[in-house]
Symmetry: C2
Subunit: 409 residues, 2 copies
């Protein structure tokens, strides 16, 4: 199966123009740049012979037209603020390039179709993994109504403004889809450090996200004696500091956590904050550890609630259990690397991916390629062209092996 | 001297419509609402017979036309986010109403003019006290070039967009101005608690403001092991928590402090913050205490600098020394309250005011009226109409006493 490496790289560079920010992209879900990228991708899919459309949650979905069975290949094309050009985008364009090769009959996948998808808002600008959850029937209309970004803008409104809201939402088709494949940069340092070219994902860590809210009273920061204040900002600082200590004590070996966003209101230097919020995210491959860390959040909040006249509230916004990849597909990916004599290793994914949603409904597999310096979620994120193309070739060869296994070669 | 109480209250209500936010106002310096309020005030001054204009920093300044000597009465009409309707605005409209009464020859101030001014950006959206500093020749072009708001917008640009930048900047005229008077709500609980109607300010506390900046590296919050991170957000939380402890230890009896604004960048839940900033403000009537607290900021920053690969920087943005009011004017205000048998007390001001700038160039005095519940810098800020009018009457009577003292009656 012959992929056109120049065309793959050229498409990646074209996509990186949407929301271009230095060497990276600023393409938050449903921003004008993200919508323009989706319109461009729709055209690319149609030129690849796919029956393509943008659905009611913003997923760009293209189906092979000449088959009854297909593999689904995809990822996402939205980014975090000032993110990298490959994160998500590469996995979608792997699918696009393989679909193009198949369309040109330059592959042995005559009986095995290749459907391609870009899932909406994987990064959680409004609702993490919204597109893949919708595709798997796990996102209700209520979920959409309640989802907002950190500025309070609602997902329902942006879907309506983008013109997506009116469309039907595409759904997984168990009678059609044999498997889901997602290629991605590692977003960590391991492959580079261990001189491996391909990472074969065995499991994806669970992710949870909570919002901490402190509510006090606005007052003049000069005339109000310290002992009479209800300072929501000072309370949030104490709460976050305490929580970081508790996490350090309660962590598992592979646990990670992050306080990535804090906002004080009203937000002036000479006004005692009336409210203050922080976004806390934590991950671990093991459910009991996730439960333990979530317990630390509740305990820290209870410990500080009411102190200094400030009330503390905790909302658990997101909970995704650890997800195992399909053992047989893992073997298939590994066989493909052996056939091509490419140094590869099995590893867990510390990052969440759409595959963690798909894997609960369909045999799923993920393939990693190295991230230079392990950098990601930053414009400095990058990978060599050689590694990008090698990952696409391994994925394509895996499909050939799968077609043989399934008697569809 | 007869003031028109209904007209004073009506003007206050009209001004409160600009940027109205519930029972308060949201009229940040140089916002469209603030600019509209300045245009309205300009017309009011002209109708009061003043030679009025808006100067190059946005000050609205009206001069009596028929005299060689005048008192200057004013304050500011900008607000903090979601601030009160009287803060600043009342002191300006006290001057306006007294100028109206004089214009109608309903006062004994034939030889003593009343100049009225609304100083720009007292609250420090871009540069605290910008208008009064400019009026006293203490704000350089470089100061204006360097001033920005918390979003990074520049003062020079907003002055240009507002059309103020082209105008000359008005200046204090020592040959003309006998004294500066500022009426204001107390913004604290003392008058109400002690059943006093008028507060006669003896001194204004010193204010300092610093920006704490932590600089780390953005990384994926799931794939980057905790020990390999350079987490600017966690560093700022630790720094702020440590600083609040140090302030508690080093404080003077009357010291107050506030961390009113924090921002993390890039600001996503799944990205390790690459930078994090906090705005710290502190006040005290005594210089040695202010120096000691500033030393605590530098010490806390030095203590945490470099920890976890994060650099810490401190910028001292604002430093205003404590300011004593003029002893003779304090006596005059007190005499006015005695003549009218109004319960009054001498007190320091915990809040900064334009008077702290003016007092270094001109004999200055401030008069406080009670704040209900001591609330301010919040839409809940309020004062009874009776107290508002009483304060205006006491100020007007003080001018009559001053005119006699100066042989200008």
């Amino acid at each position: 199966m012959q992929l056109n490496h120049d065309r793959l790289l050229d498409s990646l560079r074209q996509l990186a123009q949407f929301g271009k920010a230095g060497t990276g992209v600023n393409r938050l879900a449903f921003s004008p740049e993200d919508q323009a990228a989706r319109a461009w991708l729709l055209e690319q899919m149609r030129e690849a012979g796919l029956d393509a459309r943008i659905d009611g949650i913003g997923n760009v979905y293209g189906r092979a037209t000449d088959v009854e069975r297909a593999v689904l290949i995809g990822s996402h094309t939205d980014s975090v603020p000032k993110g990298g050009w490959l994160d998500g985008a590469m996995g979608v364009l792997y699918g696009l390039e393989i679909a193009r090769a198949r369309h040109e009959a330059r592959s042995s996948l005559a009986q095995l179709g290749v459907d391609v998808i870009s899932f909406a808002d994987e990064e959680g600008t409004y609702r993490a993994l919204a597109g893949s959850l919708s595709f798997c029937g796990q996102l209700s209309a209520t979920d959409i109504e309640q989802a907002t970004n950190t500025d309070g803008a609602s997902l329902a409104e942006v879907l309506s403004h983008a013109g997506y809201a009116g469309q039907p939402r595409a759904r997984l088709d168990p009678g059609r889809h044999l498997a889901y494949f997602e290629g991605h940069i590692e977003q960590g340092p391991r492959l580079e450090v261990e001189n491996q070219k391909i990472g074969i994902v065995t499991t994806i860590v669970g992710i949870r996200r909570s919002r901490l809210s402190c509510l006090g009273q606005a007052d003049h920061a000069g005339t109000t004696p310290m002992h009479l204040r209800k300072d929501a900002g000072a309370a949030l600082i104490a709460l976050c500091a305490r929580l970081l200590e508790r996490f350090e004590q309660a962590r598992g070996e592979l646990s990670v956590w992050n306080i990535g966003h804090i906002v004080f209101a009203p937000g002036a230097g000479n006004v005692v904050p009336s409210s203050a919020q922080a976004l806390v995210e934590f991950r671990d491959p093991r459910l009991p550890v996730l439960d333990r860390l979530q317990g630390e959040i509740d305990a820290a909040a209870a410990e500080l609630h009411g102190r200094g006249g400030v009330t503390v509230e905790v909302e658990h916004l997101l909970g995704i259990a650890p997800a195992d990849m399909d053992a047989s597909l893992v073997d298939t990916l590994e066989a493909a690397t052996r056939n091509r004599v490419v140094p590869a290793m099995r590893m867990p994914s510390g990052a969440g991916h759409d595959a963690m949603v798909l894997s609960r409904h369909l045999p799923s597999a993920m393939l990693f390629i190295p991230s230079i310096g392990g950098r990601s979620h930053d414009t400095a994120e990058n990978t060599t062209e050689e590694d990008i193309c090698l990952g696409a070739d391994i994925l394509a060869h895996s499909l050939e092996l799968l077609a043989v296994q399934k008697g569809l070669a």
